[in-house]
């Protein structure tokens, strides 16, 4: 028999204990909220997490730096590219590596696309659980256009593993400007529609305004960051406070709320999406069109292999379409060359012995990416706030310890306080406005 939880020990005999979750439509996956009720009023609450604990940190101690990138995708799975970014920048900090500018611009582009899809998903779920199903469908429609843009470049809609240590995997796809412009246009339309549906909607405002209020001192004491903290009026954004990538060159604002209630968190997210769209447009103007590699004197792979038996391949080799965008001619603009942190160019690998050896040395156990001994902490602005990675390296090819500073861990820690004294129906928009992502919360 399991020992009693705190709420069971403290419950009054005349009140009712209700269990919400862990499999509950409004629990965003897997959280268990145990409530002690007096009719609909919540007297006491206890939150139990850990139902999606997948052993991320332990797994990372057993995988090489290159291999564990796929696990970082699945942390905050609504904005996967931001997790990739945070992890890669922490490792690059340990190397002191400089990423080329084109790769930095592409990283900003991908980050903002992920941030918009994170906020879209959060607000869509919050609205749906409050009853506004139309908003959910509209926002999912906008998210599809964003994901299409991501998919044409990275190959996957969600868990992309696109941002690699040292740069990015491949160049943007050929007509990225058109698909990005369409995504931005459609998202703006959806934001306008949703704004019209929810901003002054008396039902939505009645359910969210004045509900789930947190004071500034409490928010700081809980370690809140991101839209949650900004809704209380504190304008802390890692992109502005500790600029990384090229955010100090871009023009954007950090929206803040006032009251720290659910409505303010909704408004802050809506405004942030608009700012992210602004950033996307600026970045799209900054990225130069890459020169088309063209048909040129490209040699077919079989021919190149045959020739390479007697002489080194001098002409560019026509690679498989799967590798389009990551040709050697592009690689210098997309990945850090010194120290060599990225997978070596495929033309070299397939046609020369040195290239083949360097390819193997990148992937073999015990070799490859080996940061110097020490520890580093780096944080980026995730969808929920400050997403930090703390890596302790012992000089080998596997991290000694990798810890994720999950922003929604601190958000959910405050849930018990926010719902005490309120009604059961208030739990839903409060929890929805926190944007709990199980992969990040439980690691």
């Amino acid at each position: 028999m399991e020992p009693l939880t705190r709420i069971q020990q403290q419950a009054r005999p005349e009140s009712m204990l209700l269990n919400m979750g862990p499999s509950h439509p409004a629990m965003h996956g897997t959280i268990r909220v145990m409530l002690e009720l007096d009719a609909e009023k919540i007297l006491n609450a206890e939150v139990e997490v850990g139902y999606l604990h997948r052993g991320f940190e332990k797994t990372c101690e057993n995988k090489s730096y290159f291999n564990l990138l796929i696990y970082t995708d699945r942390l905050n799975y609504v904005s996967p590219l931001i997790n990739n970014l945070g992890y890669c920048m922490t490792v690059e900090k340990m190397f002191g590596a400089q990423v080329p500018e084109r790769a930095q611009l592409i990283r900003v582009l991908m980050s903002e696309l992920s941030r918009i899809s994170d906020h879209l998903t959060c607000l869509a779920a919050m609205a749906m659980e409050s009853g506004a199903f139309t908003v959910f469908l509209y926002m999912m429609k906008a998210r599809e256009y964003l994901w299409d843009t991501i998919e044409f470049t990275t190959g996957a809609r969600m868990t992309t593993s696109y941002i690699r240590i040292g740069g990015v995997r491949t160049d943007l796809h050929a007509d990225w400007r058109a698909s990005l412009a369409m995504a931005v246009r459609e998202t703006r339309k959806v934001l306008k529609d949703v704004s019209g549906l929810l901003d002054k909607n008396s039902i939505f405002v009645g359910r969210t305004r004045g509900v789930g209020i947190i004071s500034r001192e409490d928010a700081l004491s809980y370690g809140w960051t991101g839209p949650g903290l900004r809704s209380t009026g504190i304008p802390y954004d890692v992109r502005k406070a500790h600029p990384y990538l090229l955010y100090d060159r871009l023009n954007f604002e950090v929206p803040v709320g006032e009251a720290g209630d659910n409505y303010d968190r909704y408004i802050v997210r809506m405004r942030e999406m608009e700012q992210s769209l602004r950033i996307l447009e600026q970045v799209a103007a900054l990225i130069p069109d890459s020169a088309p590699l063209g048909p040129g004197p490209a040699v077919e792979p079989e021919e190149a292999l045959r020739r390479s038996r007697t002489a080194r391949a001098m002409e560019p080799v026509r690679l498989s379409p799967n590798l389009e965008g990551s040709e050697k001619a592009r690689l210098a603009g997309l990945t850090c060359q010194e120290p060599p942190l990225a997978v070596p160019a495929k033309e070299e690998t397939y046609t020369s012995m040195e290239g083949l050896i360097s390819h193997f040395l990148f992937f073999m156990a015990g070799k490859g990416i080996r940061p110097p001994k020490g520890e580093a902490y780096f944080s980026v602005e995730g969808g929920n706030g400050e997403l930090g990675f703390y890596i302790v390296s012992d000089g080998s090819d596997k991290p000694y310890r990798l810890h994720l500073r999950a922003p929604c861990f601190h958000l959910v820690a405050a849930l018990e306080q926010l719902i005490k004294g309120r009604l059961i129906a208030d739990v839903i928009p409060t929890f929805g406005s926190m944007n709990m992502i199980g992969g990040e919360l439980d690691r």
């Binding site: 862990p22 499999s23 509950h24 439509p25 996956g29 897997t30 850990g50 139902y51 999606l52 604990h53 997948r54 052993g55 332990k58 797994t59 796929i70 696990y71 699945r74 799975y77 609504v78 998903t121 869509a124 959910f136 469908l137 999912m140 429609k141 998210r143 599809e144 994901w147 809609r157 969600m158 868990t159 199980g438 992969g439």
Partner: protein, 158 residues
């Protein structure tokens, strides 16, 4: 008894047709695959055109358990309870690589495939599977439901 057999097979066809086009699913969502589930259920890749669009949020009202996302050992008893609460006839779809086999996680915390906990009808691999794959899996389940046979031993004379 060919007359009876003819009626029995016609009845099975009709029953299968009725069941497969009116699936009420219970989305047991945990992790990243939930995002692809949301995409499948929404306007672009509508799951409602296959009749399975109505989400029932109680296992007692559902006949399809859609297990979406990683199941950890902490959650396994809950999954078992939810499955046991469903009424016959019930089907289970394992959505995503983590439910099929534990996916990329093979460690102390993750159940290596939900078929260790509950019986599964259709496995949809992918991490996460594209919505088209989910719909393909749903069609395979509908195929399976169509061809399920009833137990007619009670009607046959010994």
């Amino acid at each position: 008894m060919s007359g009876f057999d003819f009626l029995a097979t016609r009845f099975e066809t009709a029953l299968g047709w009725g069941r497969k086009f009116s699936l009420f699913h219970y989305p047991f969502i945990t992790a990243c695959c939930g995002m692809e589930y949301m995409s499948t259920a929404c306007a672009h890749f509508d799951i409602d055109r296959f009749g399975a669009g109505l989400t029932r949020f109680s296992p007692r009202q559902a006949d399809l358990l859609l297990v979406v996302g990683t199941i950890s050992h902490k959650l396994a008893p809950v999954l078992r309870t939810v499955y046991d609460q469903m009424l016959e006839p019930k089907w289970v779809i394992a959505f995503g690589a983590c439910t099929v086999s534990g996916g990329i996680y093979q460690n102390y915390a993750v159940v290596q495939g939900i078929d260790r906990v509950i019986p599964v009808d259709v496995y949809i691999p992918g991490c996460p599977p594209r919505p088209e794959m989910v719909l393909d899996g749903l069609l395979k389940l509908q195929d399976k439901i169509q061809h399920q046979k009833q137990d007619w031993r009670w009607a046959r004379k010994p």
